[in-house]
């Protein structure tokens, strides 16, 4: 009897855990074959855009994904949405393994995960009115049957992102960058998703407008309990909005930690370099800050360096780093790092 009770408790605990967890990505790989030849194509290489990425994202939390161009942050996002086929690994969304879910079965799942894009000029159809842009997801998912309810819902979305009711019948070109990004956010939220993937959502905006949109993201999260996967290269923006942050380099997560820990005591030399490279808007602070300048640039994902992928640029590289690839090692308290300096030999 007691054994049965025990089993029941563990089942409950498991269910509670999966309810609390919005997204889990395990050892995700996305490789692109590089082909040559016009008529007879042969594969001459593999671009390892994402190569073994794992993270978990709790409901209501924000995970920031940072890294320089080509680190695989956007590819990771597209694979989570299943807009790119994963080469290997597992994607568990709201407790369900969606790695191999068929295309037709993805549709009801996708309404729970939406995306906000970087370019507010390229991501809105210039021939559609704002109300149709925001309403399109509802139409696609068959929620536009009741005309009055549909209109009411679209107008509620418009108000929610801080646009005015009379803007509904205008076209995207009549709006500024910041307003367009609000339209993109309203479209993403129309289906009431749980997870919103934001891919560089403020980097195309003017400095004074970025703060408006960041505040909007944060207040919407509070009101609607949204979960964000927030991709950006701006470390100050990511720090502001994220609970946890994963730093990516050449297709891998090199460090993942809670926000304050990552910024206070970065463990991976790449995280350290990335933070040191960002200037702080205060000349007196700048004069005192230590400078860690890494050499060179990100190498090609077609031929990643052997051993630790960061070793050719790392100021602390050891002999071992040239040959042995460090695994992402859990250090406890939600912190993990892939570096020989911080993992037991």
């Amino acid at each position: 009897m007691s054994e049965l009770n025990g089993a029941a408790t563990s089942v409950h605990a498991h269910a509670a855990a999966s309810r609390a967890e919005m997204l889990r990505v395990e050892d995700l790989k996305v490789h692109f074959p590089l082909k040559k030849g016009i008529i007879i194509q042969r594969q001459v290489g593999t671009i390892q855009a994402v190569d073994g990425v794992s993270f978990a994202l709790k409901r209501g939390d924000t995970l920031g994904l940072v890294g320089e161009s080509g680190c695989g942050k956007s590819t990771t996002a597209l694979a989570v949405l299943r807009m790119l086929e994963p080469t290997a690994g597992r994607i568990v969304f709201e407790g369900r393994d969606i790695t191999h879910t068929a295309k037709d079965d993805m549709r009801p799942i996708r309404r729970r995960m939406q995306m906000v894009y970087q370019d507010p000029y390229g991501s809105l159809n210039p021939r559609m009115k704002v109300r149709d842009i925001i309403g399109e997801p509802l139409q696609v998912h068959g929620e536009a049957a009741d005309a009055a309810a549909y209109t009411e819902r679209v107008e509620r979305m418009i108000a929610m992102v801080g646009l005015l009711p009379d803007m509904a019948d205008r076209y995207p070109h009549e709006f500024s960058g910041g307003q367009r990004q609000r339209i993109g956010i309203a479209r993403a939220l129309a289906l009431e998703p749980g997870l919103v993937i934001c891919d560089e959502p403020v980097s195309a905006l003017d400095v004074s407008i970025q703060a408006q949109v960041i505040n909007l993201f944060m207040s919407l999260q509070e009101r609607l309990g949204l979960t964000y996967l927030f991709i950006a290269h701006d470390l100050a923006v990511v720090r502001h909005i994220s609970d946890r942050i994963a730093v990516m380099y050449l297709g891998r997560i090199v460090e993942i930690a809670r926000r304050d820990e990552l910024y206070k005591t970065p463990l991976h030399p790449y995280t350290e370099a990335l933070l040191a490279a960002v200037p702080v808007a205060d000349p007196e602070v700048e004069a005192r800050r230590p400078r860690v300048i890494v050499k060179g640039e990100v190498p090609s994902a077609l031929r990643p360096p052997p051993g630790c992928r960061f070793h050719p640029r790392c100021p602390k590289a050891m002999e071992k780093c040239r040959t042995v690839d460090p695994a992402l090692t859990d250090l406890g308290a939600g912190r993990a790092v892939a570096c020989h300096l911080h993992t037991a030999p």
């Binding site: 500024s176 926000r259 300048i293 640039e297």
Partner: protein, 325 residues
């Protein structure tokens, strides 16, 4: 006080557009001393790039025109000299580095030829000598294996390496002034720091002045000696860098500083954004261009444009109100 290297006085540059005449730069005045780094900071449409292009006399005409003002460089007014005279200065005494290194390099010429060209053109060096100099310049901007990379084409270089090539070209004739227009905006953060450090180090070595055009308050804080903040085609505040960050006077400067999340700031709280949108230059209000977005704007602000007044040594603001932080 020695004469400044560059004195810009009441520079006004206009463009004819479909929406009528637009004043992109409106009565801008500032100095750059020898060896000094001055930053112009502003958002899109503030007039910062047009100011830079006006100094270089690279405003496409039509539709653009330097309407009035003086650009006095080493005692000569650049706005009045003829095209041949300007060609002798451009790339020689004043060099420019642009934002997008891929589109500012010629894809059909080798990197060596492009870096050698200014010395051949301005200094009359024979090509062989100019090529030797190009190799030396590529070494100075730390392009590894410079000798063999002379024969490469721009597409064989990475983004950061291309920007190094641009810097090598700019340095070729030992210019007195280098104008860098958002030189690292297209680059990754770690590369951005490398390039700006290199630029700062080389200007320090050669004693040339640097005019840095940027939207990034952090870049300004790290590299600039003095700053001019532009908004709606005008300078709204200018001061030595430390003074500006310590005692900002203009509501726009204050607003920018409050709205940008900082690495060392308070994380997770609400940012204080500047409400509204950057101004449309074709429809500027009659008074202060910032007045529609300014919490302190009064009727006086909406009626007339505030002139720049000195509030401390070398610190000027264009605002009727006292809004110090």
């Amino acid at each position: 006080m020695p004469t400044p290297l560059l004195q810009v006085r009441n520079l006004t540059t206009r463009f004819n557009t479909e929406q009528g005449q637009v004043t992109a730069v409106d009565g801008v005045s500032f100095d750059i001393d020898a060896g000094e780094t001055v930053a112009i900071v502003g958002e899109s449409g503030s007039g910062k790039s047009v100011t830079a292009l006006s100094i270089m006399r690279l405003i496409p005409s039509p539709p653009g025109k330097i309407e009035s003002g003086e650009i006095v460089f080493e005692g000569r007014d650049l706005s009045r000299i003829d095209d041949a005279g300007m060609r002798a200065i451009r790339g020689n005494k004043i060099a420019m580095i642009f934002q997008e290194p891929m589109s500012s390099l010629n894809p059909a010429l080798t990197v060596g030829m492009q870096v050698a060209e200014p010395s051949n053109l301005h200094r009359g060096l024979p090509w062989a000598k100019a090529m030797d100099l190009a190799r030396e310049l590529l070494g100075r901007v730390r392009i590894p294996d410079a000798a063999s990379r002379l024969a490469s084409y721009p597409h064989q270089y990475s983004g950061g390496m291309r920007q190094r090539v641009m810097i090598a070209m700019a340095l070729a004739c030992q210019p007195r002034l280098i104008i860098a227009d958002e030189p690292t905006t297209a680059l990754d953060v770690t590369v951005q720091a490398q390039i700006l450090d290199l630029l700062k180090e080389l200007t320090r070595e050669t004693g040339s002045s640097l005019l840095l055009i940027t939207h990034d308050l952090g870049v300004v804080a790290r590299y600039a000696d003095r700053v001019a903040v532009m908004y709606g085609g005008r300078i709204v505040e200018t001061a030595p860098a430390r003074e500006l960050y310590r005692h900002p006077h203009h509501p726009y400067t204050l607003g920018l500083m409050a709205s940008v999340p900082r690495l060392d700031g308070d994380a997770g709280g609400q940012l204080v954004p500047i409400e509204g949108q950057p101004p449309d230059l074709a429809h500027l209000p009659p008074g202060c261009a910032f007045s529609p977005r300014c919490g302190k704007a009064s009727d006086a602000c909406r009626a007339a444009r505030p002139p720049l007044v000195e509030v401390a040594a070398r610190h000027f603001k264009a605002c009727f109100n006292d809004v110090r932080a």
